[in-house]
Point group: C2
Chain length 152, copies 2
């Protein structure tokens, strides 16, 4: 089946999801935020097939979320550090973790905790607020309206 | 190819992505936050094939993000309103929109604006903060640590 391409839709959700592609891509990003940079570490942490990992790293590098830096010459070896664009994706990961912990975690509790270094809290959860007033943004107090980039 | 199931991984990102499945699911959620509830409206707004839409609505209903309510008898017709679990997903959508607007929008600007009704701001952007101290959470000030639900 041919996959629909969402890359040109006038929608930031469609474009983001088109770029991410699938589950593996987000899990690779999670490992990148954990400090993983090398192919073999990604592979060991995720138990992902090598060809799948290669394809997803290429995708993330091409999209600009990861960089590709040679760290050894013979044989050639590369690291995949987060770019500024990739680091800026962290809030999405934090929002997904918060929701998954709330609704999908086992009774044992969340599998991962976020330590917020600014306040030291070991079990910080993400809250999504408005840049203007700082208040929370929820389904009940936000309306989506057409913006300047909307094609009509 | 058999798709890897991430549902039992001890990771809230893996479980969330397993549940969401693909791009369409998030776009259906976007329309649900826009107030869309009926099959034909989802279909018209997204230009999605009817069998694909049926499968994704079943998935979201089965996962608990949408409810399924009969609103007409002959022929039987159903609405798909957001559940509490579904409404609580909004911060993830807001975080994705913020990132996509920042990195993937055309020069014309963002295709959609978020109006935050609590302060009236027409172009509110989402910021992800810590529930404990209110400070922002970024890749630079958050560490992921094993939590009680981590299987070792």
């Amino acid at each position: 089946m041919r996959r629909t391409s969402f890359a040109r839709w006038p929608c930031s959700i469609a474009r983001t999801m088109d770029l991410l592609g699938d589950q593996w891509t987000l899990l690779i990003m999670r490992e990148a935020f954990n400090g993983v940079r090398r192919f073999d570490r990604f592979q060991a942490e995720l138990g992902i097939a090598r060809n799948t990992l290669t394809e997803r790293l290429d995708r993330l590098t091409g999209a600009g979320l990861l960089d590709r830096v040679r760290y050894q010459d013979r044989p050639a070896r590369y690291e995949y550090p987060l770019t500024e664009m990739g680091r800026d994706f962290f809030p999405v990961i934090a929002a997904i973790i918060r929701w998954g912990d709330q609704w999908l975690a086992d009774s044992a509790g969340p599998p991962r905790l976020l330590r917020h270094l600014d306040c030291g809290e070991a079990a910080a959860t993400a809250i999504v607020g408005c840049t203007q007033c700082g208040g929370t943004m929820t389904a009940d107090n936000v309306l989506m309206e057409p913006g300047p980039g909307m094609v009509t």
